[in-house]
Every structure is written in C-alpha cells, then in structure tokens.
Assembly symmetry: C2
C-alpha cells in the first residue's frame, strides 16, 4: 500500500481534516495504527500505537472471533467476554425442562460446573496475519474476466491448503481494498468452549425487539464463556480432561467508567461495508436497489397477508416468512431513509468527481472499464432480485431447484462442487427439504410466484431469460395456466417424495419424474449460465477496482486522510469517543444511561420484565464502587461514535489506557445506513458499561470468584 | 377568602416555598394576582400585577372564550387568534366541493371576503366578575343534602335570571373552592364571527394523532377570526351590515421570541381539575376508578373486535365506537401511569395528614362527614360506570332509555326539565335516534350488553338495583334469555319506529308498545331514583367541602403558599417559564423546535405531508426578521411549564412585558395526569411560537394586511 506509506507524516491527521472528512470514521487494520499515531494521540490515546499493530501480540491477541461475532479474553485462564446474543446458542443448548437458562440465567458453581457449548460453536484465535498479494495475483496478471476470477480463486485455495497442511490452524485469504491487497489469516480453532455466567434474558435482552436499535438502552447484553484445550495446550474437542486455555493476552477491566468526551476504542471482526464503492453504486443503491427491495418486500407481505386472511393454518405456516419479510423491509427502508438523510448520493458523487479530476492518468482506462462493468450488473439488478426471490419465497419450487442443482454438483468430486452443495452441506439441505410441511400452503406459494413472475414478465427484453419465458410464458394467462398445471401435478408436497429424490440427488443420480423437477432442469441450467456471467463480471471488478482504489488513496492522501479497507470479517480497530446523540430537532440523548431507566421502562411484561432481584437491588441503591461518581447512581449502557457494523457484536471497548470499559452490542437506528455511509452526526455504537456487569456480579447475581479472576473488586 | 387575605405579605412566596411546593403550579383567578406580586416579580414579570387583576380591563379583557376553548383579540378591529382545532368547525362550515378549506387553508381577500362561522359558534367576552357567595348560600344555610343542593341551585338560577333580564349579557354562576365562594360572571355573546385566515390542515394539524400529546412538536395550530357586531356596537346575528367589534383591549404581538428560562404567562379558560380533592379521592382514582376504566374499556374493545371479526359491515359500523374506546382507554391508562410515576397517592395523603394534624377543631366534624359522604359515592362507583356504559355503548337500548326519559321530562314545563331534555335539546336527541342505522349490529350490541351486565351481575348486593335485577335476572342463562327475547321482539331497529315514538315522547304522550320500551319504564325509574341519591350526596359535599378547603387555606398559608381554585371554565392566569423537558433516563428535549423538524418528519403522506410551499420556503431559508437570533433558523413551537388543562386551547402566552409570544395548543403526554396532580418534572404546555405565525403570514401564505393590522413587520 505505497500510497498510505507516502502520507506526509507532518500532517496531524485528526486535526487537519478537510471539509467533509469524518474524524471518527474508520475500521482500521491494526497494521495501520502506527501511521495513525498523531490522530490517535490527538484523540486522547495514552498508549503506544505500535502496540496495537500486531494482531498476534497483546492486547489484540486477546480479541477473537466467537460464534457470529467477537469476544475477548478477560483472564489468563481463558475466560471470554461476549454478548448474551452472541452466546445465545450456548445458553439455549444448556436449557432443559427443569432449568430454563435463557429465562433464569446461569452462574457456574465452580469450573467443574461450566457447561459445554453447542457442538458448532467456535472461538477463533488469530495467530497469523501476512500479506500474500503477490502470490494471489501472480497467475491472474494479464488475464481478464472469469479467467482472472478463477486465477485468484485457485491461488487463494492453494494458499489455504498449504497453510492448513500441518492441521494446527484454520486459514483463509482476505481481500483488502477490493483486489488491491490480500492477507493470509491463520487462526486457532477452539471448540471446547463452556458457559460460565449468563444473566437472565430479562437483563441480557431487556427490551428485545422493541428496544433493538434504540437508544437510550438498558440492556445487560453480556455472557462469560471459558475456552478449554487439551492438556498439551492444543485445540481439542470437548473433554472433561481438557484444561482452561491460556490465551496469549487478556484485557484488564477498568475500575473507572466512561463519560461524555472520553477517548474510546474498539476491536472486533466487522462483517461487511460498502464505503469505498463508486458513486454509481451509491446512486444505484439509493435510487434502485433499496426502493426496489422495499417495494418488492411490501408486495410479498401484502400477498401473504391477503392469501392467508381467511386461513388460520396457512397464516401460522407463513408467520415466520412474513416476519422475516417485514424485518427485511424495515431494514431496507431504514437504510434508504438514512442514506437520504445524509444526502449520501450527492456527497459521494462530489467526492468521486473531485478524485477523478486529479487522478493519475494511468488509472483512467481501468476506472472507466470498471464503471462500465458495474452498469452491466446494475442493468440486471431487478432480474437478479426477482429470480433469487423465486426460490427464497417458495417451498416446492425451491425444493425442486435445490434437488436439481444438488444432482449436478454431486456428479463432481466434492472439492470442486459449489459451496453449499458439498458433503458437509447436505444435512442443511435435508433440513430445508424437511421443514417444507410446516411452512407451505399451495395457494400462498402460487400467489407469491404469480406476483414475482408477473413482475418478471414486465422486465425489458434485455433482462429476460429464455428458459424462464418458456416455462412461464409471457402473459398472465400463460403464467396462471403454467402454475395451475405444475401445482396440480407435482408430488413434491409429500416429504417422502422430496427425500427419496434427495437420496438420488446426493449421489448424482437422475431424479424421479415430477412436473416441478422437469421444470427445474432448464431453470437450473439458466441459473448456472447467469452465475457464470456474474463470476465473469466479478473477475473484471477484481481486476479493475484496484485502479479506483489507488486513485482514492492518492486523493485521500491529498486530503490528509488514510484509507481503511471496507469491512470483511477481519480484525479491525476503531477509535473515537463517548458521545451524545442529537438525532432529530429538539431531541438530545445523553451518552450514558442509568438503572433509573430500567425502572421507568419496566412493565412486568415481556420484554420489559426486569427480574425482581434486579428491581430490588436498584431500589436498595447499594451500588458501591460501581456507581458513577458524578451521576451518583449505577450506569447501564453507553454510547460512542465508534465505527462498527454487524460482526462487531461482542467487541471490547477500551479506554485511553487500553483498559476494558465496555462491551459493544448494538447500533442506533439512525446508523443502519452506516454500512454505506458514515455520518458522524448519527453514527453511534451502543455498549454495556463494564460497571453494570461488575455491579450485577457483585450485588445482584453474585459471582465473586469471577470478579476476582478478572482482577476487580467484588463490591 | 379570609385566609388568603391574611397571608403574611413579608413572605416572598416564590422564594420561600416549603419542600413539596410547586413554584409553577397554579391556575390563578386574576383577582389573586396582586397578592402574588412577589413571586411574580421573582419569576421575572416586568409589569404591574394589579393590572392583571381585573378581568374586565386590559389586558385580560382581550382574552375570551371561543368555541370549546380560548381566544384573544389581537387588533382593535376584533381580530381574534385561536387554535386551528378550536376553529375547525368554522373552517369545515366554509368548505365546499370546490374549495376544501381544511386542506387548502384560507386567506380572506379583504374584509368582505371573511366567511361566516357555523351558526352555533360563539365568542364570549367577560364583562362582569362579582362575588355572590352570600346571595347563593343565604337560603342554603341550615339545610343539608338534597335541600342544600336545591337551595344553591335555585339561588344560582335566580341570580342568572336577574342578570340576564335586560337581554344584553349571558350570565352564569361559578363555584370556586367547592362551595366556598361563588362568582357571577357576565359575558357578551358574539355570534357573528368570521373566518379570516387558516393555514392548510397539513400545517395547522401537522402530525395529527401521531404527534398529539407529543413533544417535540411542529404544528402551526392557529387560525385568525374576526368578531362582528351591529352598527350600534351591540352583539347581533350575522349580517352583511355588521361592523367589526371594537374589543375593550387587544394583545400586542412581540417581535422577540422565547428562549429557555424566559418568563412566560398564559390566560385562558381551563376546563376542570381535581387538585384539591381529598386524599381518599386520589386513592380511589388511582386504585379503583382509573384501573377499572382501563379494564372495562379494554373488555369493550375486545368484545367489539371479537364480535365484528368476521363481519366487515359490522366492523365498519363500530369503527368509530371502537376508536373512541381506544382513546378513552389510552387516556385513562396514561393518567394512571402519570399518577403512579408521580407517586401522587402517597404525596397527597402525606400532605392531607399534615393539614389535618393542625386543622382548626371547628372544621373537624364537617371534614369527617365529608369523608364519609365521599366513601358512599365511591362504594357505588363500579355500578355507576357500568350503568352509564349500558346506554353509552348501545344503540337500541340507549334509544329506548332516551325516549322514555324524554317522555317523562316533556310532561313538565320546559324550564323545569332536566338539562338535555329541553326543547333546545330535541334536535340533538333526534340526531342520536337517526344515526343508529350507521352504528348498529344486533350481535355486537348483545355482546356488549352481555359483557356489561355479566359484570353488573357480579356486583355485591349493596350495589344492586332491583329494577335491573328484575329485567336481566341474576344468572348468565337468565341474561342470555332476556337479551334474546328483547332483541328478537324489538322493532326499534327501524328508524321509523324510533322516530314515531320520538314524536310522541316530545309531547309527553305514551309510547307505542315495544319490548325495549317496556323494559325502559322501570329502568328509567331506577335511574331517576339513583340520580336523586347522587344529587343528595352532591348537596352534602357542597355543604361540607368548604370546611376542608378552609383547613387547606390555613395549611397552605403556613407553608407560605396561596391556593387557586380548581379549574371550572372561568378565566385563569398561569405563570412560569420556558422550560426543557427531561421525560426519561437519558432523554432530553429542547424547549424550542425549528423548521428542520418539519422536514425530518415529512413523509409526503398524511399526517406528515407538509405543503410544498412550506417545504420550499424552508429550503430557501428566507426567514427574515422572524428567525431566532441564536439558532439562526425559524422556530416553530415552544414549551413552558405553565399550568394548563383542556379549555386552555387557544390561550395566549405572554412574555414578561405582557406581549404575545405564543399560542397554547397542547400538553405533553407525561402531563395527562396533571388534572389531578401537578408534577413540575413532567408538566409542560406546548405553544405555537408567534414568530412561526408571522413567518407563515409574511413569506409562505402571505397576508401582509393582517400583519400590518397586528402591528408587526411584514417580512
């Protein structure tokens, strides 16, 4: 990344930002932090930035992936802190008819009482992070399109295979800056993880969906786990002979709490962002993709509601699909609302225009080619969405497409099969085929397909697919006839019919005749062709985006700003401060909440049903050393302007001295659009104040041994 | 009011309030303000408090009753400022197929274009306010119960008759401090009132039900009217010959706007409060009345929803009744929530206990008798509510009861009939009988009556009424049989059957036979008996409450506090300040909103469908002299801690110099319980900033002549 290295060090980044720059935006690779020494110091960081550069050394080596999120070691004996919602599977797994650990919470009575996690729960400790760009791109150079894609794919697979050869680590290759750089990541995979401490659901998920994305918040969304390894110190499956893992580092909990303006930083594994996408992609997202999703999801919602209005059984069967559509619709609408509020399209376009105006001429051809390529993908955007939903919103049609694709993939050696159709995926496929009965009603599926395919029929010719036209015709009448015939004739509504074909498909054998299976033949062939076209476009993007990124590096350097890679589930650091939120005219939210809010929200009914011991402890007011010295009461959650996204759940929040002050668990609703655009006015992250955790463990659901293990007072 | 007069003048009331006293609580009679000179000055009032004492002299003579609320004169030519929602009937009356003045708004093109109000709209200008306590109580002394009630009632009616004899004014007698003092109020009744200026509904009622009771608010809830009189200056019915009324005073609009901490005061006609009710009445309200209402309204809601679930026509017919029940339920629940949040029961009980502990012995017997009397009323509280709802929630049963009562009352001379059954009420009764068709479905009415009467059947014997027991039996089976028989046999479902009986009833003649009419005979007889019992209890309360109030005056004087009478639709003044709201943990609302909030809330769909001219003017940012000098933008609404209740709609808000700065139009949701308990932490009133009105009239929907008439700049 030569551009970043050429940054004029005299520029105090945090202090001389150009207009429009965001002081607190950034999910930085740890290796970037030494370059950010000046803004880090200016923001209030008291430590040495070079200490943060190495993901395999303390303190970052204390930060791990866990479940779908992040966790951190908080003792030398493998004690792990993460969110209640990240550890929900572990808690659920240990719930029995006698002991509902979700509702009651759990405190292990000593280490022998710590409970095993569900078998698929994993903790990944990063032990290697190395640039492998040259290796990945060696065979790709000179190629284009699909060939470029395949060369990168093959090189990456080779690097992973080499890395995993001795069996000690799990490896992956991460693409940084959209094809510009590649890193090999090696991780220890710990599978013996145990439940140590969980608060009751009414603390860990106080407010549930009503408060989700909301601030002010009053949720104790944390759980403590412990990682175990074999007596040799190496990862091992669960065994009573295992011993606590001795992590390379653990975080120290602060005694002091956060207050407005305090420096804060966070480390974690953010999922995916789109911040460095082109202005055209922003415009497409705002003008087409999101409005289209809102509209289509609403149509699906209306269709299901109308088709189940007078059929209680169908209503129940589609309840989960309906809820999921409503969530997706709300999310897309919120993202659109946020991007419009931030005027992101105009701002991104102005920024890109300024960048292009002074970009090095050598990048010009590639950038132009990239923009052309992207417009090809955008041109088939509606078709892609509609065809995805054909399977996504149906049960029998999805089953037929799944079986046909499985049959095709199963004819290849396992390693060459498409992801999702390999041996290890077959249990999941079987599950999908088995759950049809609980989620299917023929009139609803036909109504949904009619809606989707009617929309498909209205697409311009350039987006049309001959196989789909042949299958469903080009008129409403033809479509109705096709669906009537298909659903009158198919036997896939019977579980045994599906499962017998599943057994054939997994061995690559021909499937017993059925109208939907017959239909799936040409449709899957068309899907495979479109997948190929898509991979060719992706290959070109992989080849061309680095030119765009280089122009961006140069432009940002001129502005005195460094560039972080868009999030991709690799370890990142954000820094910023504890900050209030002014979301709307005349509305101001404090950055710290207190237990008074728990009482105010409490209705004694789910989801605001705070446990009696908590309410009594609040009424008693015995907050001891965990009370805030200024507020004179117990704090609960706090708010920072740290840059986060999905995957940052469970990220530790550190103060200027690198001590643990919080646990990230959510964002505010106004920042749902931050995956595309960071707006410093609205982007906030929501954390559990570690003083609340300490108070709960000291006074409400006591676990003094754990407090001692974490090195903090037990009162 | 000897106690108030004996207040030690050395006590600076606003500065030496005892613990628990509320600096800003109080709906003062204007005559009390000279006594409040010190706290008024301390609060920041710059004028002479004695100027505020006379309701018939400037500036209070500018404040009038209008429709269901308050208005004020804002020019020497009878221009009146009130709320859009207070003047809604006037706007609606002038709406035609061509011109929907509700949606479009209205600007009169000169005085000849000003539009007449609906015939029943009245403006009342207070021209006399005199104490008549001795006269009212002269014949009541020595009497008790019903006789006391009747003596007060007769004396009051005589005073009104004497006062209205020359036909120039309309009079009433107001009871202050619950029977302690009585005032004769004389008012000019202006019936020629015309519409001058109304903003579009999407300004005047921006946000509608969603924003109702909410803060932050962005509503231009104002309308300008003009009062006209005959050429002789006397009230006259509408005529094109009439001339603008020259009011005894008008308010001057301030050029400056409000900011946090500024002194503010408000004058108006607040409806009803219960602040000086006994601790037992508070306890009953919180423990019984409100929970019972919430529960019963919810049962009615559930009953209607269940009974109309599969009947679209019935669903439509009961939509309005259902909405009304939901509003009433929400309101009762909100009041209960507020009283619980403020711990009003405990606080009121502690206050009363302290008062009683040092009350003069001479009051003791009356106070004890009062508390005994109140408990009698409370003991039949559930029965009263249930029997009220029998008529309130039904159509045919209500019709039968109404017809029977009308028949009985119509046999008396008109003046002696019960209010509601006089000649002038008959049109309303006919309307009730006619609307049955649009609001009735037999299975829903039976379901509602079954629910109410089942609850009635469960009442203890002491609350039972023989006539109702005889009519509906004492078991579920008997009730079902009775309702089945009644509704199978009645012909009151036909409009002609109801109206022919109406024609008989209004002349006191016997009603044609019908099962529901036959039932109504004994039921109405029982109602009349219970009404008599209730009036006897009321008479006793009228006799006994003054002792309680005297004890309260003495106790408050000891605390250094004056006592205002509970609100009773007479002219009152509140004073306090512009103040922010901190309603919940970590939530802070500014006391002033700006046009930015209109844009933020706007969805282009009702009720957040700001008109295009408004949005364009906001985008243009041309706020001229009406912009806030600190915020540098246009303000919209503001918040004070002024003491208000229903009836204060349209009240003018004045600054320390007595200039008009705002127009009261709502309260915040947290203060819905303020009719019983003023909690200074939560009680706020919501006002239109007069700078917003000026900006709209200057730049958005221009009316420069009106601005000139009000003496403010037209830009």
């Amino acid at each position: 990344m030569p551009v970043r290295k050429s940054l004029p060090t005299a520029l105090a980044l945090g202090l001389t930002l150009a207009a429009g720059a965001h002081a607190d935006e950034g999910m930085w690779m740890p290796t970037q932090l030494p370059e950010l020494a000046k803004p880090l110091k200016a923001a209030g960081f008291k430590g040495d930035p070079t200490d943060l550069a190495n993901v395999t050394a303390p303190p970052l080596s204390a930060v791990v992936r866990a479940g779908g999120g992040t966790a951190s070691f908080v003792s030398g004996d493998g004690l792990l802190l993460t969110n209640h919602h990240v550890a929900m599977g572990v808690i659920q797994y240990n719930t029995t008819a006698e002991h509902n650990l979700i509702n009651e919470g759990f405190i292990a009575n000593g280490r022998t009482d710590e409970r095993p996690s569900n078998p698929d729960f994993r903790v990944l400790v990063t032990v290697g992070f190395d640039k492998v760009t040259d290796q990945v791109l060696a065979q790709a150079k000179g190629k284009t399109g699909r060939a470029y894609f395949d060369a990168v794919d093959a090189a990456s697979k080779q690097i992973v295979a080499d890395c995993e050869r001795d069996g000690s680590v799990r490896c992956s290759v991460a693409d940084m800056y959209y094809g510009t750089d590649f890193y090999r990541i090696s991780q220890l995979e710990l599978s013996d993880v145990r439940l140590v401490y969980a608060p009751p659901r009414a603390i860990g998920n106080y407010g549930d969906e009503i408060d989700n994305f909301m601030w002010p918040r009053h949720t104790g969304d944390f759980t403590l786990l412990r990682a175990y390894v074999g007596k040799d110190g190496k990862p091992a499956p669960y065994s009573t002979d295992n011993v606590p893992y001795q992590p390379p580092a653990h975080l120290n909990m602060s005694i002091d709490g956060p207050k407005a303006g305090d420096y804060a930083m966070l480390a974690g594994y953010p999922g995916i962002t789109y911040r460095h996408r082109t202005a055209a992609e922003f415009a497409s997202q705002i003008d087409s993709v999101l409005p289209r999703r809102v509209e289509l999801f609403q149509q699906m919602i209306d269709t299901i509601e109308a088709a189940t209005a007078n059929d209680a059984q169908a209503h129940t069967r589609y309840a989960s699909q309906l809820q999921s559509l409503k969530n997706n619709r709300k999310r897309a609408a919120g993202e659109l609302e946020g991007l419009l509020r931030s005027d992101a399209k105009v701002q991104r376009a102005a920024d890109e225009q300024a960048m292009l105006a002074q970009a090095d001429a050598k990048y010009q051809a590639d950038i132009e080619a990239l923009l052309g390529n992207l417009s090809q993908g955008a041109a088939v955007g509606e078709r892609t969405l509609l065809l995805d939903q054909l399977a996504g919103q149906s049960q029998l049609l999805r089953s037929a497409l799944l079986l046909e694709r499985l049959r095709i993939e199963s004819a290849k050696p396992d390693a060459q099969r498409e992801t999702g159709y390999q041996q290890r995926d077959q249990q999941l496929i079987e599950g999908v085929l088995k759950q049809v009965q609980r989620r299917y009603a023929p009139q609803v599926e036909k109504a949904l397909l009619t809606r989707l395919l009617t929309r498909y029929q209205q697409l311009p010719d350039a987006q049309r697919v001959p196989e789909f036209d042949a299958a469903f015709g080009r008129t409403g009448q033809a479509l109705a006839n096709a669906l009537d015939t298909l659903y009158a004739g198919t036997r896939l509504g019977d579980e045994s019919e599906r499962l017998s074909r599943f057994n054939a498909a997994r061995t690559g054998k021909a499937l017993a005749a059925d109208p939907l299976i017959a239909l799936a033949g040409p449709l899957v062939a068309a899907q495979l062709r479109m997948e190929g076209e898509s991979k060719a476009r992706e290959g070109e993007q992989l080849r061309l985006r680095p030119a765009y990124m280089q122009a961006l590096f140069a432009w940002r350097a001129k502005q005195g700003r460094a560039v972080y890679p868009d999030a991709n589930r690799t370890l990142r650091i954000s820094y910023g401060k504890v900050e209030a939120l002014h979301p709307r005219d005349a509305v101001n939210f404090d950055p710290v909440t207190t237990v008074a809010g728990i009482v105010e929200k409490n209705t004694n009914a789910y989801p605001f049903d705070a446990p009696k011991p908590l309410l009594e402890a609040i009424a008693k007011g015995d907050f001891g050393t965990t009370a805030d010295p200024v507020l004179k009461t117990q704090t609960v959650n706090f708010l920072t302007n740290l840059d986060t996204t999905g995957g940052n759940s469970g990220s530790p929040v550190l103060n200027a001295k690198g001590e643990l002050i919080g646990l990230n668990f959510d964002s505010n609703w106004e920042s749902v659009s931050a995956s595309w655009w960071f707006d410093p006015r609205y982007k906030r992250a929501v954390h559990v104040d570690m003083r609340y955790l300490r108070w709960l463990l000291a006074k409400v659901y006591p676990a003094p041994a754990l407090l001692e293990e974490m090195g903090v007072p037990a009162e």
